[in-house]
Symmetry: C2
Subunit: 246 residues, 2 copies
């Protein structure tokens, strides 16, 4: 490392931090990845950035310049950090956008554990999933831009599989316990995946058209799933033309 590099790095970091603080989400740093600060400062050198900061910077750069044309080099530079450090916080360039999603899996599992046994299987799944998707109004814009990117960039859809897996397993495990079967057997597996499938449909609709709340779409999709997609209950949504030329 040469001599004046650190002064410059600090200067860049100050700029980047200002950008983060000016972010409309208002949420502060939060969870760090390399060693997760728990309030009390630990032993060694303090982290020069945070997963949350990198997430916000990436989100901004991706929205401006596109995912593929935004190199990790640029993201790291905007955060005042080296390229190598970025990959210490995230395993891949795409993972930065799934940071928040991974948190939902935990919420999902907790909620499943709290469902009384009296609630029927598919009703329980619907309630839990809808409940895990109640976002505060101030968090919605960020969620929307993130899902917009995920829905439109192929490289991000490719990275989805890994993250969806944990989500599906949360549902499969619950279904397995209810059915008294193994989580890897056919029906629990199918239920977990089908649940995610219809939720993704709901998400896509919501991203594309801001005409309704996300939870409404989720609820509709999950009800349809539990009804076996009976055409009798599948009326076209308000604002949609029945029949159409594609």
């Amino acid at each position: 490392m040469r001599k004046g590099d650190h002064a410059q790095a600090r200067a860049r970091r100050a700029d980047a931090a200002a950008v983060v603080r000016a972010d409309p989400s208002g949420r502060e740093a939060g969870i760090d990845t390399p060693r997760m600060y728990a309030g009390t400062s630990r032993r060694g050198r303090p982290p020069g950035t945070s997963a949350r900061e990198l997430e916000l910077i990436s989100l901004r750069l991706f929205s401006q310049g596109g995912f593929d044309d935004t190199t990790v080099e640029r993201i790291a530079a905007a955060a005042g950090v080296s390229r190598r450090t970025f990959f210490r916080y995230f395993d891949s360039k795409a993972d930065v956008l799934w940071h928040a999603f991974d948190g939902e899996v935990r919420r999902l599992r907790d909620a499943f554990a709290a469902v009384p046994a009296s609630v029927p299987l598919m009703d329980a799944i619907r309630q839990v999933v809808v409940g895990a998707n109640l976002y505060r109004a101030e968090d919605v814009p960020e969620l929307r831009t993130r899902m917009n990117l995920i829905g439109s960039i192929p490289a991000l859809q490719a990275s989805a599989a890994h993250h969806y897996d944990a989500w599906e397993r949360a549902v499969s495990d619950f279904a397995a316990s209810r059915l008294g079967q193994d989580a890897q057997s056919l029906y629990p597996l199918a239920i977990g995946r089908a649940t995610l499938a219809v939720c993704r449909a709901a998400y896509d609709r919501w991203v594309e058209r801001a005409d309704s709340s996300l939870t409404v779409y989720l609820d509709q999709a999950l009800r349809a799933l539990a009804a076996g997609f009976d055409p009798a209950g599948l009326a076209p949504q308000p604002g949609e033309r029945p029949h159409s030329g594609r």
Copy 2:
């Protein structure tokens, strides 16, 4: 290009072709990608290989040495072709394993077009999907190794999204026409994705345990979907212990 390279290349190609002909599938070349020969030989230089040949060689090398440790360099060398040429036949290293899957989408669309309007929506989907998965016995081993790779290597699961998309749309389009709605609206979208979801569950079960025919698993999964996963009809499969310690 230096002088003696072509003689060497031809020699390597002869070896590779022998390997392909010795393949148990017995199926010959078939569809080429760069310009799809239609029986009559066309204008310029004839292709030095075929997508099918690259597919078989890749499948063998992946099974032997693993996906990540098998470089495109090695595959191309085994086919007697340059690295660059491999990427003229396939857009990515992973795509080589999805070559056959993409063909299923066409079969799917054709079958949907032939379904009489009297068959209820979900019944039609089940029959068409099961019908599109009737494989000849001699093709099953290759299918199984391919699905085994796809199910176990993360890099391949990542590439799945793009190929699944076309499959889902085939189902969504059919559902949309039956419901008189747009294919991008909530229910058709949800039906297409949920259908694929349960089929993937069936495939996974089938790959993991050779205890039953693929079509049986598919039929069971699709019937469960059409029944809204009513627990009354979800008895554990034969050979599976109800309850278990995971």
